[in-house]
Amino acid sequence: MYDRLLAVPVFLPIVAGVALLAMNGWIRREKRERTMQWLVEALVLINSLLVAWLIAGCGGRSGSLVLFRLYGQLTVMFRMDRMGSFFAGLVAFLWPLATLYAFEYMEHDERRPAFFAFYTISYGVTLGVALAGNLVTMYVFYEMLTFATFPLVMHPMTTEAARATRQYLYYSIGGAAFAFIGLVTVLAYSATGTTGFVPGGMLDPAAAAEHRNLILFVYVLAFFGFGVKAAVFPLHDWLPKAAVAPTPVTALLHAVAVVKSGAFAVLRFTYFSFGTALLRGTWAQWIVMAAALVTITYASTMAVKEVHFKRRLAYSTISNLSYILFGASMMSPLGLAAALIHLLAHAFMKISAFFCAGAVMHHTGKNYIYELDGMGYRMPVTFACFTVSSLSLMGIPLFAGFISKWSLCEAALSLGNEMGGGAGGAVGRVLPYIGVAVILYSALMTGIYMLSVVVRAYFPGVVQQMKEAVGGGSDGKAAVIVSQGKSEANQDPSWLMLLPLVIFAVVIVAVGIHAGPVLRFLALIGGEAG
């Protein structure tokens, strides 16, 4: 029964989106945009409830549903296992709220029907990635995600947007092309002849031993292939550029759905296809781990340098995604659990931060951080939420980010102890500890790049005083700004935008204070697959 219904949440939004596209002209002619929006919201909500019901119904049991056969053993198959239900649940929770936010953000846009059509299609496709029962299905939806989301990046239709879209497409398709090599290799050396996900890997041990170096090489290729969407270092450039898209897109897709699909795919094929037993302690592990660490360092440094609000958050996303990849590259149960908890925490933190940035851009038209002086007084609720997410991103205790960073460090240290015996060679002995150092460095950088925004927003005077101290002339501008901010009417957006923000902030704090149940559930996943 449940198995039969697995395809519904995937295809319902896709069908609805295509229908919207077909009715695009009619909706615009008849000026039915408002009705259309609420229908979309209702549909997304129903779909999310359906996902919740399926998760509750399936629990940990995993039935599967084979939809059709692409070729030979390549079936499109859905299955709800623990890890899939985790990601699906996350996506299903965020999407209705993000849609709500998009209502207000897109209210003056001419091409709303097309926007919401692709936005809804992306929902279904992301659920497809989450619920995929084998590598082929995941690959199919991974490719579809590229094509469902590129119209959204292109939505502003400016030259800049077109350039960003082009880059996004090239990177994503290029990545998928290399991931394809991984797919074919898995198929060729699979123990079962299929590509179905099995906790702990599914390669034929004998064949794997025989072609060990080849398989490791292919693993590295596939890591970078799927890693393109997770913006791993040399292939990260598309993400900051894609910040030209409307904020609901950057927030939901480029902080959650798309990039998390990339990270999720990496986790899936590392722990469920190649298997950690094969990879642990090999040169392949150290290469991907080093790539993740380089990304963290590079992106958190770049974020400090960037002055465009959304682009700074995009760099922050890059560095945080590599936290997840760092967890993935540990090839241990603790690593997987840590990666997943960071996946969850970062989703809430970053979507909240992006939505704040979007609210500021939408209501005041301010895009750059140096324009934000005193904004904390004009948009109090928005910036309160932003502060929560900033503190959480830094990893201050009581917030979700602390839990996830703690787990990551714990996992890295335990890996370091394990490899200390010399199992991983000289590199393997040092790299986990370097990883901890990199996380600490990145926390410092996060503090700088996030708090500098918060400080500007709340204490414009401080910035001025610092300038004075350095030697710049003062004209009492700070006081003016503060008084201005206080005197001006409250510019907070309407409830459509605020509701999601507040909910996210509450979740961040809740996870930070009471993480026990989530951690236990994730430890379960780590235990079965690690």
Partner: protein, 553 residues
């Protein structure tokens, strides 16, 4: 003997005679005859395929009941039937899809000539597929060349004439080499019929005599057919040829004609030389190397083009490279992948050429990137056709291209030395394909500079394009003879402004769609369906190819 066994012969003859009959008919009637002939031969091929699938073996058909060494033979099996069927379908859809444009591009008095060429092309393709005799193959190779030349120069612009001459020269070179190969083979074996020749070759190989002549034969025939199908270092003629012919001609030439030669080459390898000997001769490695090089080079050149027709033509160079790479793997799996790619590329490339014409018509007959901007809104169906074609080329799952890619990749595992090269070449070439196809695709769905979507923009662009064109020609006119060039400029600007006037008349989106002739709409929809069939129901097709290949040798 079952009556169906006559069908291969019937289909060749029907196509040939309809060409002959058409020479005394008017253009309209010739068109009807041609379409009927294509439909009829396609139906006959379907019967042949069904027959061979039922009996599970191929059969030899003696022409005029002369026994083996003297007679002429046809041989039909599952693979031949399948190829003939798919070629017929693609041919039919290409002709139907380009019907209106053929009418516009070809002079009224020469309409019937165009369809004669189509008929001859069909009959020669069928003959190449079915014949079991090397000399017959050679004769039809020549007929094919002539028909191809005729198709290319039918639009009678200066460029199409040079393209036709270039095609003629390269093709003659190819058929010359093929003929030399045949003569040498005849010299060594005394046979021209494929099956006896194979026995003779097997004897020679067993003896160890005539090793070098045999190598030369394989080399010369391979190179000859590679030139004719446009493999990488010999691709020089392709871009102009496909770029300047009428849409139907481009679709047929790139989708089918080059594939016919590749089919002949596969036949030569399997049925005359023997696959093992071909693999052993290392010629196959050369084909592999040039195939991979072609995949890269063709795509790189395609990226550099600003004219979309040339871009699609260069993409053909890359795709031919794929096919040769599959053959070059030297395994049965590689061969299957190559044959499947013949089908999938035939269907996809024809779709691209036909749907692009729709986009050109919506952009005032201009073919460069800039002019095509936003044309996906002006001609939605053609835009959708191009979308599907481009996605298939990039290897999007559920379309034909994905299955090709998958087959190539999985077949690579059977030949360890070439495996990593093949896999990486596939990945890199996918990236390159994505770069040029998706760049154009984004362009199609971008508003024009004025920021508007759809038909309002057509007006403006058409007008502006016309002015620019006229201005450029006027500048040139200063240098060359004044009167002549001014006339040319006049004509050009007229030509470009025409769509503007048309655009002003039709104001709503549906009116722009109505500009698609219904024949073209059918063709695009059918091509899309064909692509989906090849992508989603590939299993029986691949099984048929495997069976066919087994009974091929």
């Amino acid at each position: 003997m079952s009556f169906v066994q006559n069908f291969p012969f019937f289909s060749i003859i029907i196509a040939m005679f309809s060409g002959i009959v058409s020479s005394v008919l008017s253009g309209k009637k010739a068109r009807a005859v041609s379409i009927t002939a294509i439909t009829a031969t396609t139906a006959l091929s379907a019967f042949v395929l069904a027959f061979c699938l039922r009996t599970g073996q191929s059969y030899t058909y003696m022409m005029g009941h002369f026994p083996a060494p003297w007679g002429n033979e046809i041989r039909a099996g599952v693979l031949e039937g399948l190829t003939a069927l798919l070629f017929g379908v693609v041919m039919f859809l290409s002709v139907v899809g380009g019907l209106r444009y053929t009418e516009e591009d070809v002079e009224p008095s020469k309409q019937n000539l165009f369809y004669i060429m189509i008929d001859l092309m069909l009959s020669s393709l069928l003959a190449l597929i079915y014949t079991n005799d090397l000399f017959t193959a050679y004769v039809f190779v020549e007929i094919n060349t002539i028909a191809g030349c005729g198709l290319i120069m039918m639009s009678q612009t200066g460029r199409s004439l040079t393209a036709a001459i270039r095609y003629m020269v390269m093709s003659s070179l190819g058929s010359g080499l093929f003929l030399i190969g045949l003569s040498l083979l005849y010299d060594v074996t005394g046979q021209l019929l494929m099956s006896p020749a194979k026995e003779a070759v097997a004897r020679i190989v067993a003896d160890g005599s005539y090793q070098i002549p045999l190598l030369v034969i394989v080399a010369v025939v391979s190179v000859g057919l590679a030139i004719k199908s446009g493999l990488f270092p010999f691709h020089y003629w392709i871009p102009d040829t496909y770029g300047y012919a009428t849409p139907t001609a481009s679709a047929v030439l790139s989708g089918l004609v080059s594939k016919g030669y590749i089919f002949l080459l596969i036949k030569f390898f399997c049925r005359v030389i023997g696959t093992e000997n071909a693999v052993h001769s290392h010629i196959i490695n050369a084909l592999f190397v040039f195939g991979v090089a072609g995949m890269m080079f063709g795509s790189l050149r395609a990226i550099m083009q600003t004219d979309t027709r040339k871009m699609i033509a260069y993409s053909s160079v890359a795709q031919i490279g794929y096919i040769y790479m599959g053959i070059g793997l030297g395994t049965q799996a590689g061969m299957i992948a190559a044959i499947f790619h013949i089908f999938s590329h035939g269907a996809t490339k024809a779709l691209l050429f036909i749907s692009c014409v729709g986009l050109y018509k919506a952009s005032g007959d201009r073919t460069d990137f800039l002019a095509l901007r936003g044309s996906g809104y002006r001609n939605r169906l053609a835009g959708a056709g191009f979308l599907i074609g481009a996605l298939s080329m990039v290897g999007f799952p559920m379309l034909a291209g994905f299955i090709s890619k998958l087959l190539f990749a999985t077949s690579a595992f059977a030949s360890p030395h070439k495996m990593l090269i093949t896999l990486i070449a596939l990945a890199v070439s996918t990236v390159l394909n994505a770069i040029y196809f998706l760049r154009l695709l984004i362009g199609l769905y971008r508003p024009t500079k004025s920021g508007s979507f759809g038909e309002l923009a057509t007006e403006e662009r058409g007008g502006r394009g016309g002015e620019a064109e006229a201005g450029r020609s006027a500048k040139l006119a200063g240098r060359k003879s004044r009167g002549e060039m001014a006339k040319l400029a006049d004509r050009k600007s007229n030509g470009s402004i025409k769509p503007m006037e048309k655009g002003a008349g039709q104001h709503s989106g549906s009116a722009a769609l109505a500009a698609n002739p219904w024949t073209m709409r059918i063709a695009i929809v059918c091509f899309i369906i064909l692509n989906l069939i090849l992508g989603l129901f590939s299993q029986p097709i691949v099984r048929a190819i495997t069976d066919g290949l087994a009974m091929f040798g």
